[in-house]
């Protein structure tokens, strides 16, 4: 299947499956629908037979009419035609009905598997692959795949008809059947030629659509910036180019697909003419009757259509396989974060220890180097340092979002690699640096980490955050709709919701990554008061630039370029007069009225 991926913006995690492996896997999805598929097979056979009856009965009727009109029963013949048509229709209905269910279920299963895989990928995966493309794998590729399956079932029934027809025609007249079949290689050859071209154009077309998709996704997400900078024209021009390119590619693709049928019709036309000519000659020699002759002409029409479909849809079929391959690659993608075991985690004490850890996101951009740090259970540890010094990275490592390269990370003395991540993380309470809210109410969002929490619990927690003053500024209190990503709340409000969300979770380890950076100092002090009691006996890691929020921490760590350059309590660090003291000094130059006045005066 590798060839089809050429150019279809293959991702790093894409892999190549053999056709057989793909088919086997796909069939595996149909296993639970075995009886349905068996019934489908039976009715496909039935409807093919019924489809065959029509031309055969007509041709025999014509012969009887010609040679033994007295024995002919016109009404009976018509009834047979009607009944055959009805039976065929019913068989078809059953086929469509059942295959719609089967295909619907299989697509659903596949989508679910893909989605489950998505939730299992680690963060580096999402750093690398844009949302739009992942979405398109989970939705569009599974869709393309199911279309193909439906198509295949359809074509299979047609193919069966061809086989039955040819067998029957051989019993009627062998030579004429050969004449008829002489055209088959031409049709197949042409269709196969088309396939090569079609494969390329259709791949291009999908790639182009993905580009259009990505462009729209990003420009609409960032529409606010484009507006503020009045750069709509630029974005628009870019879009126009992308859209025009998509048009060119799509047009060619349309030409290729739109011409397959007419060209094959033309070729089949040659075949029909041949059948007509040979047939009349044979009939005039008495080898063939008029009715049989007509049957062969109709047979031509019945043969070329499915053959053409199969040959030209072959590329479609390949595309479906390729789509399946893309979905499977997503499902099978190797996790970069490797767990050695899957041990459930009991109530944690909260001891965290980094042992000689090396960590980087990208080769050559070292973030932590030979990093060692032990955090005692119940300790409140503050991390300070320049932006980009690795504070958030430490938080992310504790959340086990990324794999480190060297050293170890022990939680309660156990290697983090042995944990069941879901049960481990449920004991972490992390407020990330950029708060992310889900569309819904404030209440829904606070409850996010603990869906079973009652309304009262949520209300209580919400009031614990900054004494609940912030709730008054929400238009409809806890019922306020936050909008996509929380866009309808102010940044500070989003952070407050995020804090409440974590408090409700009641975790063993707290990590607050600049959790109040966008909150005004007044509210922040209020939050701090509440937090102090909550964080009291739990392990907590606080990252902040407002040093007022961290001076009561048990221990303060100063990071620079991923290394600990100072460590100690506020007082001891101030006394030492090193980096922390300078930092604190510059912070105070920013924040203390008295100081500012004195310097100004």
């Amino acid at each position: 299947m590798g060839f089809i991926m050429d150019g279809l913006d293959a991702e790093e995690y894409d892999r190549i499956y053999s056709d057989w492996a793909l088919v086997k896997r796909i069939l595996g999805y149909f296993k639970s629908h075995l009886w349905k598929m068996l019934v489908v097979g039976a009715v496909v056979f039935l409807s093919s037979v019924m489809d065959l009856i029509l031309p055969v009965v007509v041709s025999q009727a014509l012969d009887q009419l010609q040679f033994s009109p007295e024995a002919f029963d016109p009404i009976g013949t018509s009834i047979i035609l009607g009944v055959a048509a009805s039976a065929g229709w019913v068989a078809n209905m059953i086929r469509q009905w059942l295959s719609a269910e089967a295909v619907g279920d299989v697509t659903l299963d596949l989508r679910e598997d893909a989605f489950n895989a998505v939730t299992e990928r680690d963060m580096s995966f999402y750093d690398q692959y844009p949302t739009g493309k992942v979405v398109s794998r989970v939705l569009s590729d599974t869709q393309a795949f199911s279309e193909t399956v439906r198509l295949s079932i359809n074509l299979m029934s047609r193919l069966l008809l061809v086989v039955l027809l040819i067998i029957y025609l051989f019993t009627v007249n062998v030579n004429m059947t050969w004449v008829l079949m002489a055209i088959i290689p031409f049709i197949v050859y042409t269709a196969l030629k088309f396939r090569t071209v079609a494969r390329r154009t259709v791949t291009n077309s999908r790639r182009q659509l993905a580009t259009v998709n990505a462009h729209i996704q990003e420009s609409i997400s960032g529409i606010g910036v484009a507006k503020a900078f009045r750069r709509e024209q630029m974005i628009y021009d870019e879009f126009k180019t992308v859209n025009q390119e998509s048009y060119e590619v799509e047009k060619i693709n349309g030409f290729v697909f739109g011409s397959i049928f007419p060209i094959l019709v033309t070729i089949a036309g040659l075949g029909v003419a041949a059948v007509v000519w040979f047939g009349i000659n044979m009939a005039q020699q008495g080898i063939l009757t008029a009715g049989e002759w007509f049957l062969f002409i109709q047979g031509m029409g019945m043969i070329w259509f499915p053959l053409t479909s199969i040959s030209s849809f072959w590329s479609q079929f390949q595309l479906g396989l390729a789509a399946g391959e893309r979905v499977f690659a997503l499902i099978d993608a190797e996790a970069l974060v490797k767990q050695n075991a899957d041990d459930p985690v009991d109530q944690l004490e909260g001891e965290i220890e980094f042992v000689n850890m090396d960590f980087h996101y990208n080769e050559g951009e070292q973030v932590l180097k030979d990093f060692s740090l032990r955090i005692r259970p119940g300790e409140t540890l503050a991390l300070v340092g320049h932006t980009g010094s690795g504070k958030s990275s430490i938080a992310k490592l504790i959340s086990r979002f990324y794999e480190f390269q060297q050293g170890a990370l022990l939680i309660d003395g156990v290697d983090i690699r042995y944990f069941n991540l879901s049960s481990y993380r449920s004991q972490l309470g992390v407020v990330t640096q950029t708060p992310f809210l889900f569309d819904g109410t404030v209440m829904d969002n606070i409850r996010y980490g603990k869906p079973e929490a009652s309304d009262e619990e949520v209300i209580e927690v919400a009031h614990q955050v900054g004494r609940g003053d912030w709730l008054a500024s929400l238009q409809e209190g806890l019922e306020t709709q936050v909008g996509e990503r929380g866009n309808n709340l102010s940044m500070g409000q989003r952070q407050l919701v995020a804090i409440a969300r974590v408090l409700l979770q009641d975790p063993a380890i707290f990590i607050l990554d600049e959790a109040t950076a966008s909150v005004d100092p007044l509210t922040e002090t209020l939050i701090q008061e509440g937090l102090d009691t909550l964080l009291g006996d739990r392990t907590s890691i606080v990252i902040a630039h407002r040093l007022s929020t961290i001076q009561h921490a048990d221990r303060i760590i100063v990071l620079e370029l991923g290394e600990i350059i100072e460590s100690g309590s506020h007082d001891s660090l101030m006394a030492a007069g090193g980096h922390y003291a300078t930092l604190y000094d510059s912070y105070f130059r920013h924040q203390s009225l008295e100081y500012i006045e004195r310097m100004a005066g």
């Binding site: 992942v134 609409i220 349309g254 007419p262 980009g388 005004d520 630039h545 040093l547 912070y587 924040q591």
Partner: protein, 599 residues
């Protein structure tokens, strides 16, 4: 039909937007020639195709009644020519329709996109990006299919009935009985069928949009999903949505399975054949004639057979068109006002009794203040008091509900929007970076920035050093929304982006919250330089910055409760003093530092 729009594109046609069908038709009519040639091609196709069936009848007569070799060759040749021209005309028609359909796809996506750009922020606040994406790609692609092969099938249907029936009539008028009755029933049944299918199709498309939007959201928020260990819960939600979609899909399949016209045709054919036999026994029809008309009757089966797919396709397309139109037709509240005031901005800002509401609830109430050109005004207040919203009124992201916002004495609503916004620079609180290179991101606000200018801006924003620490320097690609950067790094890029623009009015919304104090020291110097000579609106929690503002506005719950210089406020405003008192409460190292000579 002229809508308000924040952004307009020249040369975009007005299409009829009264309904999805009319809209599609008006798009098609833009390319009348193609439509006409396509129709012509398909008409000839059917004439040739049906003509060949008539020739079969001739052939049968030659068999039964005998004929010379020449006649046989003539008939065979006629079949050959008719069959080949059938193919060739179909090719012509199909190519033309391909052009038509891809053009319509292109144009309608264009129309949609331009209209999205023109919509106000109020509109975008309410949309889900995932849903817009589904509409702009999948739904628009459906439009393509409506025309090719959708409309092509309509031609087929029309011609596929009419042409063979004319031939049949030419052979024997009476024989039209069965086909005519069939066509009448067909029209009736198909209409009913379409009415049943339509809601399912529409719901299916809508559910697809929801599915896509939810999925997009989960993936965007994956960090929270993971950290809250809510994977299972998310899977359940996804499954629920995917199930609904599956149900509509199956429902569609079941409705399609019971497509009656296929059955009706089979029965009609039985009657038709009986009728033929009857006419034969009365000596009116020859066997050759029967073969000809039976062949013609089968021509009719082709469009019937095909209509099963084409109807679904057309309905999906119409559902798609409806969804697209829904977006396009939504009212935009802000107009770009091309004829408006367009002078160079000097920089005076005045809020004149401004009241602003989000969906009916008041966010700003009766706010009044003035800022002289070149002044810096700081806005302070608690979270959610309306600070960010206030800045959005200056750039006219939203329109006020009462009162006026004046720039240089002119109401922002009377300004040419382009002139107004292009002279402002803004660092939003929720920074958005594009997944392009760092250089492109910094240069986003200006046309043709040189590499040197970009670098200078980055240096001013204290971003140069960290940029150079990346393997690819300025050419490093930033992940989606800048996920691969630390918070402070993102803010510094946004600062560089705003600096490079050299705006007349600079809006800084909490733009250094994630930056440590030491780095901020450096940035502040640059900001002071940047502020020089331009009007600056500053939202910050850092006293040092507030202190240097010419004017400070204290917001509480959307009301400007105090307004003045730092000294004035210290004297007059209890509230202001209270904010400062909070800072003062922090244990202060000042004594020792002052003793040590300060820094």
């Amino acid at each position: 039909m002229n809508q308000k729009s924040e952004f307009s594109v020249e040369g975009l046609r007005d299409y009829n937007r009264c309904g999805p069908v009319r809209w599609i038709i008006s798009h098609c009519l833009e390319h009348k020639l193609y439509l006409f040639v396509g129709l012509f091609g398909f008409a000839l196709t059917y004439i040739a195709f049906s003509g060949a069936r008539v020739m079969f009848g001739r052939g049968a007569e030659l068999i039964i009644e005998g004929g010379d070799a020449q006649a046989v060759i003539a008939v065979s040749l006629a079949v050959l020519i008719l069959s080949v021209s059938d193919g060739l005309f179909a090719l012509l028609g199909s190519m033309v329709m391909v052009i038509l359909s891809t053009r319509v796809e292109r144009d309608s996506r264009h129309e949609l996109y331009a209209s999205l750009l023109g919509k106000s922020q109020t509109f975008h606040d309410q949309q889900r990006v995932g849903d817009i994406m589904a509409r702009a790609t999948d739904d628009v692609r459906q439009l393509n299919f409506v025309i090719h092969p959708g409309i092509m099938f309509i031609f087929d249907m029309f011609l596929g009935f009419a042409v063979p029936m004319i031939y049949i009539a030419a052979i024997n008028l009476e024989l039209l009985l069965a086909p005519v009755i069939f066509v009448i029933c067909y029209v009736f049944v198909v209409r009913r069928y379409m009415r049943r299918l339509e809601p399912v199709m529409m719901q299916q498309r809508m559910q697809y949009g929801t599915l896509s939007a939810r999925l997009e959201e989960t993936i965007s928020g994956i960090e929270i999903v993971k950290v809250a260990a809510q994977e299972i819960e998310e899977r359940k939600k996804f499954k629920r949505n995917a199930w609904k979609y599956r149900d509509f899909f199956v429902q569609q399949g079941k409705i399609e399975a019971a497509y009656l016209p296929l059955l009706m045709f089979g029965i009609a054919f039985g009657f038709f054949f009986l009728h033929c036999l009857n006419l034969y026994s009365r000596g009116i029809l020859s066997i050759g004639d029967i073969i000809a008309v039976a062949g013609l009757m089968q021509v009719i089966s082709f469009p019937v057979f095909i209509s099963l797919f084409s109807i679904s396709m057309i309905q999906l397309g119409i559902a798609g068109a409806r969804r697209i139109l829904e977006l396009i037709e939504q009212r935009a509240d802000i107009d770009e006002n091309l004829a408006g005031h367009g002078a160079a901005v000097v920089g005076a800002i005045e809020f004149d009794h401004v009241t602003f509401k989000f969906h009916g609830s008041t966010v700003l109430e009766d706010v009044s203040f003035t800022v002289e050109p070149g002044q810096t005004v700081a806005i302070v207040g608690q979270t959610g008091s309306g600070k960010s919203t206030l800045t959005q009124l200056v750039s006219r992201t939203y329109d006020v509900d009462e009162g006026r916002v004046l720039i240089d004495g002119v109401d922002v609503r009377d300004w040419n929007l382009d002139r107004l916004r292009s002279q402002m620079g803004k660092i939003e609180q929720d920074i958005f970076l594009f997944s392009r290179s760092i250089a492109d991101n910094i240069a986003f606000g200006v046309q043709n920035a040189t590499a040197e200018e970009i670098e200078n801006a980055a240096k001013e924003a204290q971003a140069h050093d960290f940029i150079m620490s990346f393997n690819d320097g300025y050419e490093s690609e930033i992940g989606e929304r800048g996920v691969t950067l630390s918070g402070g790094q993102r803010q510094r890029l946004a600062l560089a982006r705003a600096f490079l623009r050299q705006p007349r009015i600079l809006i800084l919304d909490d733009s250094t919250s994630a930056i440590d104090s030491a780095t901020e020291d450096e940035i502040q110097k640059a900001m002071r330089r940047a502020q020089e000579g331009r009007t600056t609106i500053l939202i910050t929690h850092r006293l040092s910055q507030i202190r240097w503002a010419d004017r400070i506005i204290v917001l509480e719950n959307g009301r400007a409760i105090a307004n003045g210089s730092h000294e004035e406020l210290l004297r007059s405003s209890e509230h202001y003093r209270r904010i400062f008192a909070r800072y003062g409460a922090v244990e202060s190292p000042i004594g020792q530092l002052a003793a040590g000579g300060g820094a």
